[in-house]
């Protein structure tokens, strides 16, 4: 092991509080659904963008603090994180654009499916 093993207990509890607060905010927003958050921005409601950003924040804290990526060597950390950060948004982009296209075919094309 490259890193020293001092106790990280305070860091762990801080991260737990951050994760809890973020989850509470998400659920509260999901239930209240405030008026201002229903405005579409770049193809999605602001609310959905907020949810996705908060999820990535949570993922960052889990991976960095709990899975202890922050204590690994930079080369190891980034050879884990970079492939995922590149491939997943790439796949999501392709398939969501394709799904949207099929939706347009269904609604504007000659397929009758809601009868």
């Amino acid at each position: 092991m490259a890193h020293a093993h001092e106790s990280n207990t305070s860091r762990i509890w801080t991260v737990f509080i951050i994760l809890s607060v973020v989850t509470i905010v998400e659920v509260a927003l999901g239930i209240v659904k405030p008026e201002w958050s229903m405005v579409p921005v770049v193809g999605m409601k602001i609310l959905n963008w907020i949810f996705i950003i908060l999820t990535i924040v949570k993922a960052y804290y889990i991976a960095w603090a709990f899975m202890h990526l922050e204590g690994e060597k930079g080369s190891f950390r980034w050879s884990i994180v970079l492939p995922l950060v590149i491939l997943i948004p790439y796949l999501a982009f392709i398939l969501l654009v394709e799904g949207n296209y099929i939706h347009d075919v269904y609604s504007a094309g000659f397929v009758k499916w809601d009868f």
């Binding site: 659920v27 996705i52 993922a59 709990f66 999501a92 969501l96």
Partner: protein, 325 residues
């Protein structure tokens, strides 16, 4: 930037005590597995997004599907229970990382207790998921399916409240019974008939003039479109069957793909949690037996911990994309 060259010593990599990228063999392999598993889960979730974008205007609203909370019957509690499940899993992640931390300091008793708490958290989570499945499969209101496979749900036209088919269906005498293989050709049988036949539901709809239906289609406000009484009667002529609850073929909540993805993604995640609990139990007993004490380090706890945090990480995404967005 740290050097990644591993030929600094004359000895063989790993077996000679040299660690590429500063990570032990087992830990690096666990990370390899996690990266590939993360890609598998993203494949599933992106496929869900693909199907959802295809049927963006008719997709079921998760708030209306998952409304149950244990011991609160008939109380509309959208998402509270899933939020609680998320907390339980995050908290079991915390106890896991505390166990890893205690392992670094070679505190056997502390590791044991934190592992036990992690296992309990995992079991509570799997149990909650099973309960969610039960509610989802059983259904709440019931609906009818049209020739096209679309779903119509019943509402009280004056209050706008959902009405269960059991509340208005009128009993109609019928000789139709569940066909079993012993009654006819041996290879033909069917699954149980719904509690109410289509005739009973339609007769009940006829008798209650305040009932209307709503379609799967979302209106401008993101709510399901409610039809007028006349339109409802017209659409109901297309009805072919009564649907109660959800399975892989029929889904009273709306698009059947929603149920398919629900079973597939939460099922695959639940299977991961279950495997994690089994691994945790094995490690827990090893800790009690003092295996790692004799070995001189608690790295096994750390490796299983990585897997456990990964399961939590996946749930964070499933929670967002299935229940929130």
């Amino acid at each position: 930037m740290e050097a990644t060259v591993t030929t600094a010593t004359e000895e063989k990599v790993w077996s000679g005590g040299n660690e590429p990228l500063g990570a032990s063999y087992g830990k690096m392999m666990m990370w390899f597995f996690i990266v590939s598993d993360a890609l598998t889960f993203s494949g599933f979730l992106v496929a869900y997004g693909f199907s959802r974008f295809k049927f963006i205007e008719t997709w079921p609203i998760a708030d209306e599907v998952f409304t149950h909370f244990p011991f609160l019957h008939g109380v509309d509690a959208p998402m509270y229970y899933v939020a609680l499940m998320t907390f339980i899993l995050i908290f079991s992640s915390v106890t896991m990382v505390l166990a890893v931390d205690a392992g670094h300091q070679m505190k056997k008793t502390k590791v044991t207790w934190y592992m036990l708490l992690t296992i309990i958290g995992g079991l509570v989570f799997v149990g909650s998921q099973a309960w969610e499945w039960k509610n989802f499969i059983k259904g709440e209101y019931g609906a009818v399916e049209l020739k096209s496979g679309r779903i119509l749900q019943f509402l009280d036209g004056t209050t706008g409240e959902r009405v269960a088919i059991s509340e208005f269906a009128v009993p109609v005498a019928s000789d139709r019974v569940t066909h079993q293989s012993k009654d006819g050709v041996w290879y033909q049988s069917e699954s149980g008939l719904p509690t109410y036949s289509l005739e009973e539901v339609l007769a009940g709809f006829e008798a209650n003039k305040n009932l209307v239906v709503r379609t799967e289609r979302l209106n401008e406000e993101g709510e399901k479109t409610v039809l007028s009484r006349a339109e409802s009667e017209e659409r109901l002529t297309q009805a072919v069957m009564v649907v109660e609850g959800a399975n892989l073929v029929h889904n009273e909540y709306g698009n059947r793909l929603f149920a398919d993805f629900f079973f597939f993604i939460t099922g695959f995640h639940g299977f991961h949690v279950f495997s994690g609990v089994v691994l945790n139990i094995i490690i827990f007993f090893n800790v009690i037996l003092g295996t790692y004490e004799r070995r001189g380090h608690y790295e096994m706890v750390e490796k299983v911990g990585l897997y456990w945090h990964f399961v939590d990480l996946v749930w964070v995404f499933v929670f967002t994309f299935f229940y929130l967005v």
